[in-house]
Amino acid sequence: MTVITVALDSAGAVAAGEFIRAAKPTHPSLIDAHYEVARAYNMVNVPTAVWIDEEGRIVRPNEMAFADNRWIEYTKFDMTRYLAAIRDWAERGSKSAYVLEAKERRKRLPLPTAEHAMAAATFRLAEHLHETGHADAAVPLFKRAQALQPESWCFKRQAWALTDAERYYGTNFQKEVAALAGRPYYTPLDLGG
């Protein structure tokens, strides 16, 4: 099995580099400065994992993939069970009970709507304006992308991280999580198997 990590970070290596260097990874650790992977798989949060088999087929679509229980308050799921599932798949391949039936995989796919597609295009424009020195002009576009796909924590947290979230967006991560008032921060993991 190969692990491939992809950093979703508009600031690219400037933002993600120190984490990658500190981890000294032996697997490909890629940088996705324009959310290409997030768009193609319609990812709305991190950490998100996709299981892909030897034929390049998705056997588990996007799902919450924390490596440990540091965020259990948010995840409400014992991630050691998820790690055990990955090991089971690594050993048993398609015989692993965690490889989902094709019907179940399709059911779980997060298919984008026209609004999501517009959100992604708008976010890309906002990133470009921010990157080319027009941070003020980028803010309303980031907001529009967030409004078009409110379930995307990527669009929110990335925009907040690029600037002073309180000043430009009147909010921050802690406030937004508090506003969930008990609703899950991340789609709960349904391990199956």
Binding site: M1, T2, V3, I4, T5, V6, L8, D9, A11, A15, G17, I20, P28, S29, L30, I31, D32, E36, V37, R39, A40, Y41, N42, V46, P47, T48, A49, V50, W51, I52, D53, E54, E55, G56, R57, I58, P61, A65, A90, R106, P110, L111, P112, T113, A114, H116, A117, M118, A120, A121, T122, R124, L125, H128, L129, H134, C154, R157, Q158, A161
Partner: protein, 142 residues
């Protein structure tokens, strides 16, 4: 509006073209249109790779003929179901992926391919890992 240099943000890259902005439209000559997403004007219509779409009679996003033909990238993209976000002030047009195309690809269960750099600038392509299982993990510093 006069001629302007426009940045076109495509799903996997950004390109610069020369065109003419007018209201909501960005009019491009064929050579510029080819840069902005690979569209080529042929007798059978507009083609990108092996895909050709006929230009509907009276399409509002094509004007002129022969050497003077111009295509409005915004109108064409919308015709193809691709979302467009633009900032005329900053001469930037973002042309996204059509929701239906992304959805069809996902429904096939073939993992969408991508090529991205690592910290050393070396490019890695997902499909080059065929014959191995891949645990693909997206994370972020924020």
């Amino acid at each position: 509006m006069g001629a302007l240099t426009a940045v076109i943000l495509l799903p996997d890259r950004a390109v610069t073209v020369t065109g003419e902005a007018e209201a909501d439209a960005l009019w491009l000559a064929p050579a510029e249109l080819a840069k902005a997403g690979g569209w080529e004007l042929k007798p059978e219509g507009l083609c990108r790779g092996s895909l050709c779409v006929p230009v509907p009679q009276g399409a509002s996003w094509v004007r002129g003929r022969g050497g003077d033909v111009r295509v409005d990238l915004v109108g064409l993209s919308r015709h193809m179901g691709q979302p467009v976000a633009a900032s005329l002030e900053h001469a930037a047009w973002s042309v996204g992926l059509a929701a239906e195309d992304v959805a069809d690809r996902l429904r096939s269960l073939d993992a969408p391919d991508f090529s991205l750099p690592d910290l050393d600038g070396r490019t890695h392509t997902l499909s080059s890992f065929r014959s191995r299982k891949v645990f693909l993990l997206a994370w972020a510093s924020w």
